[in-house]
Amino acid sequence: MKLLPATIFLILLFCFPAAKTFAQSQNDIVLAKTLFIPKAKDDFKQLVKVNKNEIESTFSVMFMFYKNFISSQDIDACVFQPSCSVYAIECIHHEKSKITASLKIADRLMRCHPLVSSGSYLIDRKTGKYFDPIEN
């Protein structure tokens, strides 16, 4: 009689299919789901969010127009990272003197050509372009 409960348990155990957990944990699935998500496009609005004066506002509007309607149709010709337009709008926003900003932009535009001296810049790993931020 003592063996009866154990026997019943064993019979039940073999009668029903084993409740097997799926090998992939929920965390694995969650991580795997992120693998092929398309990359988010560059958000240029971040660059023109804060405008301190009318000059900056005007350049911001021009920049957004250029980025959305002109540059979007252009071939990938700029050799630098960030591109010349982004460099220009950053100069306008960060340089105190707009004359200095204009000079820096002019300097950058003159340097941007396929024969740029490659030894002078670090190479951006993501884009393969010459890294030249406004801090340089």
Binding site: A18, T21, F22, A23, D28, F36, P38
Partner: protein
Amino acid sequence: MNWSIRCVILFYAISTILFPAVSVGQSLSEVADFAEVQYKSENFEVAASEFSRALYFGHSGQDILFLKVANCYFNLKNFEQSIVFYDKAYFASQSDSIKNEAILGKSFSLIVENQWMLALSELMNIENTASDDQKSKMNFLQGIAYFGLHEDELAESSFKKCLNDLPVNVDFQLIEHEFESIRKNEKRFNPKTAWVLSLIVPGSGQFYSKQYKDAANSAILLGGLFYLTVNFATKFSFAEAVLVMLPWFQRYYIGGANKAEKFAIEQQLAMRNNSYQAILELLGTQKFKESKSIQ
């Protein structure tokens, strides 16, 4: 010297001799236990450093400790480190089960780093003695790696094998349907077709890739440049029009075609991702439960 000071010094001297200060340090097993507690409470940063400490001082069961450190780094999304420690666990272990776990962990880390081929070559080292769960995970990872390599037929068969391991009869129709829709979308959004269309009529490639705003933008921009070229040719001379306008025209003409090609590829990838999400949804526990309850 004052008597009271003498007494204090004497008291310290005697007590130092009689009751030597015994420094009580943590034993290695206590370190490992503490690390285990941290690991279970998902405090992976502390767990990794404590497991590493136990390893450094020669705690037994090095292979398991290496595996746990690797798991900690995996959970911290430091995949470069996790790969290193999974490798160490593999070479430190004599047990097939731990070796398989290390291979699976390393393969998953490589997959997250988009190293599909390396992940596949690692998965080939899984021993035949692998448990059902390990085999299922191997098929799951193989499926993802093949999917990343755009080897869709192999990916499909791996995902099916993954479901085949389950104790219930799961309908493969959803997987077949998703891979069929991937094939259809690859035909529908052909990058070369988009590129050629854009060269024939600027903007039509973008239209083909369902980027209507961009299609209008390209058509207007190139139309404007064409108008300016004709204007130059009639007002001045054809040679002058070519010299002044052709570089601009060529730049935006080719740029538009390249953009159309890029959009087609993006559409393909977006559709692939949608199908992939649906497949993983099926593979996820929730769907598994649903299919079980339907049965």
